[in-house]
């Protein structure tokens, strides 16, 4: 009896030891579930069936907070945005990129989100161009030149996913600086560095390179994957970029996507000037021509430069022959909304909702679906401050994220005269 007790005690203390250590830091797989606690968000309905709790309001609240913070920056002082961006993405493929603290490895995670970023980038900045640079064995390689086609970038990146050696920030900056220096002055020079390593092995004085970048108005931003590094912070501070460090994969995704909308224009470049652009016509389906970008004969597709009649495959791009910037008009239109964002909609307060004298619209102006009954659930509708139309939450998100036009205001503008006469 005694003996058994003793052993038990022993066993327990050992266990305690183990517990003490692992307490507070759960394994990665445990943490995912512990954080979400999806089982706790189940509710029983009247008939005893389980159903997931509606998280929509929560998400919407988060989304609204973001919109508000964005608009508070944007609307207070009508900021000019740099719409024509020339961005180099520098991917660090040094030894540190093989670390497994992101699953399956930092490199794979970075590649995955760079792909998403590239697509999002071209969606938001149709006038801009992007190139890829990797750092490996202390040397920076240019993976793709500046270009407007997401596919070619993604393909080039996926083919080159292996890592080794040291990382050198200076080499990367020097390389990118060389390319970006040739960009015409209306373009915004930007570098986005995805940095896995914790140190940089440089051939010379990196501080000089940073000053050089600063002088040629390159905006350098860094997203670190493990910890804050002084030199990166310094680089971002000097060149006006942003520095952030990812906590985990989803945070990394968030951080990288923050770089998709155009940044505010740098003051020196903000002087308005005219840029010569060509709007090429799509060639006829059956015509055969040698395209200037791949140097292959192609049937159909493609565009013809209005100045030199050269054939290019994709827009936007720069004509290989005459150097004219070629875009299509929808591209231009899509960039427009960054300059004139829609004001965030106001939440309809519960006091207004509960006021019986107010006759509120029953359905959402956007999708025409009936809005939830006011009373038990407050504030599930929003109203545009200009046209005073009410919208449901889904439409709110859709309007701000994708549509960039308020249907209420648009229709109001069309029917402006009749309303005016009514009053």
């Amino acid at each position: 009896m005694n003996n058994g007790n003793g052993r038990r005690l022993n066993g327990e203390t050992e266990e305690d030891d183990d517990d003490e250590g692992s307490e507070g830091d759960l394994d990665a797989w445990e943490r995912t579930y512990a954080d979400e606690r999806s089982w706790e968000s189940l509710q029983e309905d009247e008939s005893g069936l389980l159903r997931p709790v509606d998280n929509k309001t929560l998400y919407h609240a988060q989304y609204r907070r973001r919109i508000r913070s964005l608009s508070s920056q944007a609307t207070t002082s009508r900021i000019q945005k740099g719409l024509i961006r020339y961005l180099y993405i520098v991917v660090d493929l040094s030894r540190a990129a093989a670390e497994m603290d992101y699953r399956p490895s930092r490199m794979a995670v970075v590649a995955k989100h760079v792909e998403a970023f590239i697509r999002e980038f071209f969606d938001q900045n149709p006038l801009s161009q992007l190139g890829l640079v990797t750092i490996k064995d202390g040397i920076a390689h240019c993976l793709t030149d500046l270009g407007g086609s997401p596919e070619s970038h993604v393909k080039a990146l996926m083919g080159k996913l292996e890592c080794s050696g040291e990382s050198s920030l200076q080499n990367a900056l020097d390389l990118v600086h060389g390319y970006l220096n040739q960009i015409p002055s209306y373009g915004h020079r930007e570098v986005l560095i995805l940095y896995s390593a914790l140190s940089t092995c440089d051939p010379g004085d990196i501080l000089e390179t940073i000053q050089k970048c600063k002088k040629s108005k390159m905006r350098c931003s860094v997203i670190g994957l493990s910890a804050e590094i002084f030199i990166c912070k310094h680089l971002c501070q000097e060149t006006g970029g942003s520095y952030s460090v990812a906590m985990d994969e989803s945070h990394f995704k968030e951080l990288i996507l923050e770089h998709a909308p155009p940044p505010p224009a740098i003051a020196e470049f903000a002087i308005a000037n005219l840029i010569k652009m060509g709007f090429p016509q799509r060639a006829a389906e059956s015509s055969i021509a040698i395209c200037s970008c791949h140097k292959e004969a192609k049937v159909g597709g493609g565009y013809t430069c209005p100045r030199c009649k050269a054939r290019v495959c994709e827009l936007p791009t720069e004509c290989r022959i005459c150097g004219l910037t070629l875009i299509s008009s929808p591209h231009l239109a899509r960039s427009y909304h960054h300059l004139f964002p829609i004001v965030p909609f106001d939440e309809v307060s519960s006091s207004v909702l509960n006021d019986p004298h107010n006759r509120l619209p029953r359905s959402c102006f956007g999708c025409q679906q009936s809005l939830p009954n006011p009373g038990n659930k407050p504030s599930l509708r929003v109203a545009c401050p200009k046209c005073k139309q009410h919208f449901c939450l889904d439409c709110d998100i859709y309007i701000h994220e994708s549509l960039h036009n308020c249907p209420g205001c648009e229709s109001f503008r069309h029917s402006k005269t009749p309303i005016a006469t009514e009053e």
Partner: protein, 758 residues
């Protein structure tokens, strides 16, 4: 901002105040009211200095009837300048608010080396030679000779200052050392003597510890200070060691040889004087008959260092007859040096009390205790008489006389230890005779007795109850404050096991174990791969550092570490270490990353900050106990046990943990900063060790972090660094108030105050 603490209106130059600063001021004010001494511990980076300064100056302002003088003691010149700069800011703020009434005079006082503006004098390389070359230009007899013979060089700044006479005063204001020099240059007055003169009249005096604690300096710089003074010892965690060092003397062979040279030189001088100016020697003799107390009549540039640790009655006594004549005094000294030489010729370690030692001198050399006691003052007088200006060459004989005086004066709290060789190198004979003081309270007692309030403050004073016992005083307030933080920006960890789960320690029987060495190496290697920029490592001793770095080099760990970061090492050579530090900083700046190997109790551990990216992680390898076989330490421990009832183990642990806390405290210097601390030794997990760490570290030491292995620590480090890299709000969220505005302070209740203290 301006607010009330009880009946005092406090002027604080910033718009916001940390809650702990407010609490600190409240406690300080109570101590001032009670006219007692106090001990206050508050972490670095929380604005201790400005809290102290603004409370004490405001206290004086609100009580105009009995003005209090502030004597602020710092450890280094750099800190002195920083303090004065803060005071300047505060003063500007106070004058804008209450106008001329707030006018004060604040001066910093440092050695001639830092204050001199005479380019000829400044050319000398070290402090003693600057002092000497100043004396060569300003001593009264030199000036007298120069008056007769205009070709002799004098210091034009000093001459101007003398000419201005009582008009040479500083207008009110705050003067840093640089301001003093600039003012001196502008007016053509000697800044050093001007500052020394103004110290008596200034409202605030900032100078180094030595001016109050070292008996050789204190008596004559700080003699004139009024009783109604507040004395502040900043960064005072090592104050007991400073006190002990001030009263300890060590004599080596070189000292004795030098002393002999000095003696023969003086003998020649005496012969010369006898031939040319016998009257001078006779005048000195007469003065000595009348008593040493009359020394005050000497011109003050000749004034030298006297000994306030001596009881007053001795100073009034006349010098004993047998050393009044110069030749006789030289004979006595010669015999003393001879006797000491004899004692050094021993093969065994000898330990003796002062009483026995004096008796032995008496029988062998025929010098009695009273004669010994007067040696220092007699030498001083003789050197003045002989018009010796190059005092730096006479340092050796001064050391001997210093020794003699101390031995003759104190019967308790000292011991004389003669070691024929260094313990670690028994083959190289290097005899040394040490008079070591064991009682820190001896040197500081006059300070406690004389001044109304003494404030002892530092970032690490834990355990706070031990200091009053060591220094033998009764504080009216002793408190420890924590740091209010907007985020948990320090992450202390106790690492007890390596990656193979075997315990790690620098305990004597384990330190040479290869497994422990390897585990420490792996720890550093893994940490180097996850921590950005700078890492600082502290080892328990130079010999241990040499050993472990050597074995890391042999088994290739060092090479692997170098792939991640560059490695720099502190050596005993100051120049080399400074160079290493410079390059370390450079490597951190340019993003290469670096590791600095350093030693607890070394220069780096005491004075160099590794804030921001210069130190993201500090690893303390082992517990930095003192070398316990050292004879001096053993003697001191014995004395502490017998006199103050402090157990040996308690003192050793206290001392070791104080050093460890000091080392790890280097990484965090402000609230915006962040850093990790790893205590890598299994002994830290024991309660008796851990509980002696300062409160602000303990409060962040979570239970889960008490017993870690390398991989667990690595995981915590990763998470911590990610979390700290996120942007944060400096003012603090809604939950934790860390910056108080004026209204907050006004409505602050005692509730918050009590929270701050523990």
């Amino acid at each position: 901002m301006k607010f009330q603490i009880e009946d005092v209106t406090v002027y604080f130059p910033y718009d916001h105040i940390y809650p702990e600063q407010y609490a600190y001021m409240v406690e300080l004010k109570r101590a001032l009211d009670a006219r007692g001494h106090c001990l206050l511990e508050m972490p670095t980076g929380t604005g201790k200095t400005i809290a102290l300064l603004s409370l004490i100056t405001s206290y004086t302002l609100s009580k105009p009837n009995n003005p209090v003088k502030l004597i602020y003691c710092t450890r280094t010149v750099h800190e002195m300048e920083k303090t004065l700069a803060e005071l300047k800011l505060l003063h500007a703020y106070q004058t804008t608010h209450i106008g001329d009434r707030a006018r004060i005079l604040a001066v910093g006082l440092s050695s001639r080396k830092n204050l001199c503006v005479n380019s000829r004098v400044l050319a000398a390389e070290n402090r003693d030679s600057v002092d000497a070359s100043c004396r060569r230009l300003t001593a009264s007899w030199v000036r007298a000779a120069a008056a007769a013979n205009p070709n002799l060089p004098t210091c034009e700044f000093f001459e101007e200052y003398e000419k201005a006479g009582s008009n040479a005063v500083l207008p009110p204001g705050v003067y840093t050392l640089q301001d003093l020099r600039a003012y001196g240059k502008e007016k053509g007055w000697c800044p050093y003597f001007l500052a020394r003169h103004m110290v008596q009249f200034a409202n605030v005096v900032v100078y180094s510890y030595q001016y109050l604690l070292d008996p050789k300096v204190a008596g004559y710089i700080s003699k004139e200070m009024q009783k109604e003074s507040v004395v502040v010892f900043d960064e005072a965690h090592n104050i007991d060691n400073v006190c002990i060092e001030a009263l300890s003397v060590s004599v080596r062979r070189q000292t004795l040889e030098g002393a002999r040279r000095n003696l023969s030189k003086m003998r020649q001088e005496i012969e010369k004087f006898k031939a040319t100016d016998a009257g001078r020697l006779r005048a000195e003799y007469n003065r000595l008959v009348e008593g040493l107390a009359q020394r005050g009549n000497l011109p003050f540039t000749d004034n030298w260092l006297s000994n306030p640790a001596l009881p007053d009655d001795i100073l009034k006594e006349a010098v004993p007859g047998n050393i009044r004549r110069a030749e006789h005094f030289l004979h006595v000294l010669r015999r003393l040096v001879q006797y000491l030489e004899g004692r050094l010729e021993t093969d065994n370690v000898e330990k003796e009390g002062p009483v026995g030692f004096v008796a032995s001198i008496n029988t062998h050399a025929g010098i009695d205790q009273k004669t010994l006691k007067f040696c220092y003052d007699r030498l001083h007088s003789l050197m003045l008489t002989l018009e010796i200006t190059d005092t730096d060459e006479f340092l050796h004989i001064q050391t001997i006389c210093d020794f003699a005086t101390l031995v003759g004066t104190y019967t308790r709290g000292f011991s004389i230890i003669i070691e024929p060789f260094d313990e670690r190198m028994p083959h190289i004979p290097d005899p040394v005779l040490q008079l070591s003081c064991h009682d820190a309270s001896l040197a500081i007692k006059p300070v406690f007795d004389r001044f109304q309030s003494v404030v002892i403050t530092s970032g690490t004073l834990s355990p706070i109850d031990l200091y009053p016992r060591l220094l033998n005083f009764h504080p009216v307030v002793s408190r420890s404050f924590t740091m209010s933080l907007t985020r948990d920006c320090i992450c202390p960890m106790v690492l007890t096991r390596g990656s193979d789960q075997l315990p790690v320690s620098t305990k004597f029987d384990m330190r040479s174990d290869l497994g422990v060495v390897r585990n420490y190496g792996r720890l550093l290697l893994e940490m180097a791969s996850v921590v950005p920029d700078g890492i600082v490592c502290f080892f328990v001793s130079y010999s241990y550092m040499d050993g472990i770095v050597n074995s890391w080099n042999e088994n290739g760990i060092l090479k692997e570490i170098m792939q991640h970061k560059l490695v720099f090492i502190e050596t005993q050579d100051v120049v080399e270490t400074t160079l290493a530090l410079d390059n370390y900083r450079k490597a951190c700046d340019c993003g290469r990353g670096a590791i600095f190997f350093s030693v607890a109790r070394g220069k780096v551990a005491e004075g160099i900050d590794f804030d921001r990216h210069y130190g993201r992680l500090v690893i303390m390898f082992g517990v930095p106990f003192q070398y316990t076989l050292s004879k001096i330490l053993l003697a001191r421990l014995e004395y502490l046990r017998d006199t103050f009832q402090i157990k040996e183990g308690d003192f050793l642990t206290f001392d070791a943990l104080r050093q460890a806390a000091q080392c790890v405290g280097r990484v965090i210097r402000s609230k915006a900063d962040y850093g990790m601390m790893i205590f890598a030794d299994k002994r830290y997990s024991r309660h008796d060790k851990r509980s002696k760490l300062p409160g602000w570290i303990l409060s962040h030491l979570r239970d889960a972090h008490l017993n870690l292995s390398t991989d667990m620590a690595l995981h915590i480090a990763r998470e911590f660094l990610r979390k700290m890299a996120q942007p944060y709000d400096k003012a603090g969220g809604s939950g934790r108030k860390t910056l108080l505005s004026q209204e907050d302070v006004e409505k602050m209740s005692d509730g918050i105050l009590n929270e701050m203290q523990y």
